[in-house]
């Protein structure tokens, strides 16, 4: 007996399950943040880490606004008065953002962008620009070192077995449902679609001036300098995400580990606002929660009729059972052409497009080959790059109306009869209806 707890009592296991549900709900919550409470919690988190509390709270209405807004501030605010090249880059960032949230110019930008509308030499912009470049020490302290200290206190009280159980049943579950299912695709959306759009605008703003590739390399540097990478990939290193906080919450509130109180600020911030926040020296960037998050029964992002994820600034993510797809595929599949489907390089996305567009139209418009024909119907084949071919049987209905319909069948089907027999689960030789209608 080492004196460390090595088995949970049944009542403690019950609490473990309750905290799992609670932290899952915190991580997936939607709706406006309680800003006053969140700002108070952020001050407490800084104090607990031995840092002076932040004097400026910068709220962003989506992770996208956080990323592009931070880069924008850094471009305008860092160093001396910005050069024409930096002004052009700032314009590209604003244009990309407006484009991605579907808001043409003239609409209010909100607080995050307010300093940006001021003159580039403005004191607030300069302060933000500088402070955004100076996040690493603060982030390490608040999100890594302090929780690390608490973790050591936990280990002195809690045995390996119990720690494993908490990691598996509580932390692992919350991590899966919040970070893997929702946060990871959100980040991927920024790094693919949003990034492409930004690239287009950077290119556009530099046409005929200096090589856009150089401007693009500045964007990459900014990305590194303002530590967006860190913020977006926080789950990899930070310990203030809901999965870690859930575990600390259990060690503190159920097992009575006193040191956990140092994380009260981070926990309260997660409850009051999103848990996506970004500590800097003297300023903290806080993220609003989405207006809605739609999930399927496996907890994957899934918006069958509209965006699966919608943020208050208008930024949205469309997804079908966890796969991010372009808007039209969800909201207007009839507008998606067969050519677009066939040109889609991502196999997963293409499969969803095929399902949404419909086999019949794809066979008709996609240049399918007529493989065989017999008295049961016609067999069509459309080859797809890096995927199994789309093989369909066009079934003839022997009714007076003579309707036809198209069904997808296994790619190795050789004749319409074999294909139709497969659809009914019988052998081709056995498929002989004596009456049909």
């Amino acid at each position: 007996m080492s004196g460390r707890l090595d088995r949970l009592a049944p009542s403690q296991e019950t609490r473990l399950a309750a905290l799992r549900d609670e932290w899952r709900a915190i991580g997936l919550a939607a709706g406006p943040a309680d800003r006053l409470r969140a700002e108070r919690a952020a001050r407490e988190a800084y104090r607990a880490a031995g840092l002076p509390p932040p004097s400026l709270f910068l709220w962003v209405r989506s992770p996208l606004e956080g990323v592009l807004g931070a880069m924008h501030l850094a471009v305008l605010g860092a160093g001396a008065a910005p050069s024409p090249a930096r002004l052009r880059l700032a314009a590209a960032l604003r244009a990309a953002y407006a484009d991605l949230v579907g808001r043409p110019g003239g609409e209010p930008w909100g607080r995050a962008w307010a300093p940006l509308e001021a003159a580039p030499g403005d004191a607030l912009v300069r302060f933000m620009g500088r402070t955004l470049m100076d996040s690493r020490g603060v982030r390490d302290q608040v999100a890594r070192r302090l929780p690390g200290t608490v973790g050591r206190a936990v280990r002195s009280v809690v045995g390996q077995r119990v720690a494993e159980q908490v990691r598996r049943e509580l932390q692992g579950d919350v991590r899966h449902h919040v970070l893997r299912r929702v946060w990871a695709p959100t980040v991927a959306e920024i790094q693919s679609r949003a990034w492409e759009r930004l690239r287009d605008h950077v290119e556009g703003h530099h046409a005929g001036r200096w090589p856009w590739a150089r401007a693009w390399s500045v964007v990459r540097d900014l990305y590194r300098l303002v530590a967006i990478q860190d913020a977006l990939h926080a789950p990899a290193r930070d310990r203030t995400t809901p999965d870690w906080l859930a575990a600390y919450d259990f060690f503190g509130s159920v097992l009575g580990v006193d040191a956990v109180r140092h994380l009260r600020g981070s926990m309260d911030l997660a409850r009051a606002a999103g848990w996506w926040w970004w500590p800097h020296r003297g300023a903290v960037l806080l993220g609003e929660r989405p207006d809605h998050v739609l999930l399927d029964d496996q907890g994957r992002l899934h918006g069958p009729r509209g965006p699966a994820l919608a943020y208050p600034d208008g930024w949205t993510v469309w997804a079908w059972h966890g796969v991010r797809v372009p808007r039209g595929v969800i909201e207007n599949p009839e507008s998606v052409s067969a050519r677009e489907v066939l040109a889609e390089p991502d196999v997963e996305v293409r499969r969803i497009m095929i399902e949404r567009v419909g086999h019949e139209r794809l066979i008709r418009d996609g240049g399918a080959r007529r493989v065989a024909e017999d008295d049961t119907g016609i067999l069509w084949r459309l080859d797809l790059p890096e995927d199994e071919p789309l093989v369909c049987v066009e079934v003839t209905d022997a009714t007076a109306t003579f309707r036809r319909y198209v069904l997808r069948v296994p790619p190795d089907s050789r004749s319409p009869r074999e294909a139709v027999a497969w659809t009914f689960g019988v052998e081709p030789g056995e498929y002989r209806p004596i009456a049909e209608s």
Partner: protein
Amino acid sequence: MFRQGDVLLLRVDDMPSGRPVEAERGRLVLARGEATGHHHSVAVEDAELVDAAEGVFLRVMASTPVVHQEHAPITLNPGTYRVVRQREYLPGAIDRMVALLD
């Protein structure tokens, strides 16, 4: 073997045991279209329908027509039939199986 649109009726020897399906307004519904609500059905007084582990089975006591809103009726002779609903191929089935096994 009879086919009416997306439903195939196969003669079998025995009726397996299973949960009897209740009639709706005097009709036993063999299969229903998801979008249209159209259905393939027979009159309850001529038949019984069972939902078994092996599938859905229909026993016909007296010759009876299978009726559907968009198809001509098909007359079934007395006997036992397995009701097969037409299926479609889902791509990636192999990938999913491999993923499950990994």
